[in-house]
Symmetry: none
Subunit: 223 residues, 2 copies
DNA sequence: CCGAAATCTTACGAATTCCTTACGCGCCGG
DNA sequence: CCGGCGCGTAAGGAATTCGTAAGATTTCGG
């Protein structure tokens, strides 16, 4: 069963070339001839993405950024720009490799193979909001790269908010979702957890209060 | 805390440059100024290897070949030869990346980072997490190169965790998978096995507890 | 500027969860 | 039959987390 590879490349010739080589190597490529903004819904179920940064319309770097919000799929970036700043940017944004055009397709295939023989960390979806990073799989949270230890409820609460970053959630729905119905917890209880959570996350209150409604996950920057 | 990186590079200037940058980035580099044949014993406990292919004496490609016999550690290859055939060869031999000189150290650091943010579960049946090595095929476990004898259940438990290094698994799913339904074992039983396992693996608790959830396989270094 | 309502913070006791040790049972090889 | 070994159970104790109360603080409407 070949692994699935999504190729996002507008150049007809290069794209066809890549797709063919990948097929020959036993993979199952899908070819998108134009860039689209990605979301959890529009991203097909693939094992790796080959992404050309120079696409008409959408800027590839934005696609990458979008992608990393909800997916940890390995990304191999292609670009005509042989510029260290660009490479660094792409890698920082979560790319796994960066190839400069022109290149020989053999090398691309080998690099794809090199990525795929490593485990991908079964998409333990990671949410990043500003300097805050929430890893649902590992149940880990870090702020500015530093680990923050959270209790179970604190994590659940944060994870609930992180599902829709920026959107407000009512106290009642949060309580319903986070608090165990058995262990009777009032809504007052939430306040306490929020308080403790904020203290742990440090200043730059990521958990913002929406007065009279509930809470919201902010990027801890503006305000 | 910082991941360990072995730099094998004979060029004084370039080597110093790389080492410095890696330090700045929070890694702990070790610098070998000459190539040596590697064996299970001589390879220090590192998380990644930066290997220059053009070394006096030993041919870098051989070092890589040796290495892959007994270790799945990620390898980033450096070379002055910008030749597709060479790249393909190195990648086929198990290299994870190939950079052509000259390059800017920033890019190297980013590529190192890109490799290390992925889990290192090797292909095949060998998993390496930090100083811990789990060989599913041979049912062998070693810490820092030293064999550790585990009972069947202890091994099963560890292997289950090792399937997703770093991810938290619930106690119930672990119990379900590891414990024999016949020999009814309560979830308390898990505690005991974990306890015994930890004692055998020594300090640097590889098996981390995720309070209220279950356990997780850590690299036994941070904290 | 005032009061009421909503929210924040802190401290503390209780409950949960987890760790460890000790012990007994059953299986196997000698 | 004996001893070693793997495994499950029980129990005490340690560590962590959770809920509540109560007082402080903030927000909003007027």
């Amino acid at each position: 069963m070949g692994k699935k590879v999504l190729v996002i490349e507008d150049d007809q010739e290069l794209g066809a070339q890549i797709v063919k080589r990948l097929c020959d190597a036993g993979y199952e490529p899908t070819w998108w001839k134009e860039g689209r903004r990605l979301s959890r819904e529009t991203l097909p179920d693939v094992d790796l993405v080959v992404l050309d940064l120079m696409l008409p319309g959408t800027y590839g770097m934005d696609i990458l950024k979008d992608l990393r919000v909800f997916s940890e799929v390995p990304v191999l970036v292609l670009s005509a720009r042989n510029d260290t700043a660009d490479k660094v940017r792409a890698l920082r944004l979560g790319a796994d490799d960066y190839m400069t055009k022109p290149f020989w397709p053999e090398e691309l295939v080998e690099r794809v193979r090199a990525r795929l023989r490593r485990p991908t960390l079964g998409r333990g979806d990671v949410v990043e909001v500003g300097a805050l990073r929430i890893d649902r799989g590992r149940r880990e949270v870090s702020v500015r790269g530093e680990r923050v230890e959270l209790t179970r409820l604190e994590f659940e609460f944060l994870a609930a908010l992180a599902e829709r970053p920026g959107e407000a959630m009512t106290r009642s729905s949060l309580a319903e979702r986070v608090l165990d119905p058995e262990r009777d917890g009032t809504e007052r209880t939430l306040d306490v957890h929020v308080s403790r959570l904020r203290k742990k996350l440090g200043r730059g209150a990521f958990v913002e209060t929406v007065w009279g409604i509930g809470y919201r996950l902010g990027d801890g920057r503006d305000e």
